[in-house]
Symmetry: D2
Subunit: 139 residues, 4 copies
């Protein structure tokens, strides 16, 4: 299993009046983790969109354990939890600078045609992605 780690300093804009990172912004962090993983696998998401395919999120599950604060950087670990040629389940851990777990999450992504939002099988349409996802996945 291949894991990507990326560091994202908390932005002031991401805090709310509780004095911590607003919870919806963790989904943006997850996307940054996914982006880092995709790049580390040598895949090119911009090229996928240029080919008329986008990859929407179908499901998110997230548990918040500790708040992240301005002045800290989020450390985001991302891996491929499951992959079946069509759907990808990504796994995530988000940690603070002291190494404490702030959130754990999974998301499910698919590929769809940009115009119709009809499913596109990664296995058939993006065989290069398929190959590296097969090799990098956990299970």
């Amino acid at each position: 299993m291949q894991t990507a780690t990326t560091e994202v300093p908390v932005r002031y804009a991401e805090t709310d009046q509780m004095g911590v990172v607003y919870h919806a912004n963790y989904l943006v962090y997850m996307e940054l983790g996914r982006t880092a993983l995709i790049e580390s696998l040598g895949c090119d998401y911009v090229a996928m969109e240029d080919a008329g395919v986008v990859s929407p999120v179908l499901e998110v599950q997230i548990k918040y354990r500790k708040p992240l604060r301005y002045g800290e950087a989020a450390r985001i670990k991302t891996w491929i939890e499951k992959y079946d040629g069509l759907r990808v389940v990504y796994g995530y851990e988000i940690l603070n600078p002291r190494g404490e777990l702030c959130a754990t999450a999974t998301s499910v992504n698919v590929c769809v045609d940009k115009k119709t939002f009809m499913p596109v099988a990664m296995k058939r349409s993006f065989p290069d992605w398929h190959r590296v996802y097969e090799q990098a996945k956990k299970g």
Copy 2:
């Protein structure tokens, strides 16, 4: 079981280059639904924060079924799925103007002290909230 329904026109700022509402913004819609429910129950969240207590989200589960687009209004239905005096599980359905289900979700919220983030029992500290939550909850 009491359900609140609120309509939220999609903002241009909420779309992304897929041409649909960016998935993290559904968590903001969920919060607006929660706010509408809390108001319909006669509770006052601003007063809770003035009393030094905030109510962070502990968990989110969301399934995206159909994209929402600019020019549409999201119809958000929110209810109390479970409540045990400490944790609240809210349930959500988000529909488009044609009545089609765009997302289903749950979130878990608790009350914590604003300074320490230590749990505060709603049952003890906010007995008025407790009473209406007991009456309004589904299960």
Copy 3:
């Protein structure tokens, strides 16, 4: 001169750890004001985009006078300050529920082709918009 007024309750997501609305979100409020004005003039922005034209912001000037807080609704007044057939200067006032001025702003918008981002003259391509903008403008 025609002015549109719209009320926007502050969202928790829009606050930051200063305990007030994060300053960049006023530009979203301005867009909501612009949308309300365009609707009140009987124009249809979604139809404009369907015709392959988008209307980006070229300039923003904003002065922040008083903070807006969660629990308040922003009252946004919007009008057409200037219009010359190509560029629109919108004017804005954002007030709190006590009628106090929280921000004053202007923005400059144009129409461009969605693919090339080359300017499109509203006067020629959208004569209906042109006519109502001529009538509604201040100067």
Copy 4:
């Protein structure tokens, strides 16, 4: 005059359905530029907030020249345009990876007491900041 330069990859979340970075997000980029400048000057904004002082934005002026797109990184140059012991005028240029100017902007910041939002003179309350701002400013 001292200038800080920082690179910020465009996030998918920052795009809108025009296929470019949503205009309000440039104010977030400006804040990241300001943060980079403050760090390069050896000042500590988190410590300032810990001392009960926050630094809201009083004014923004921005001109958008070219759109930024997903797949690009924004290069943000930030400097102190003016400083008088109380108000700071920051200047900004935002460029795309081809070195083309995408936006020019200024913002005015002050320091205020976190509770009362009453002005705090940087010169008196933060003499270390004052000294480096005097040395780093353009005019």
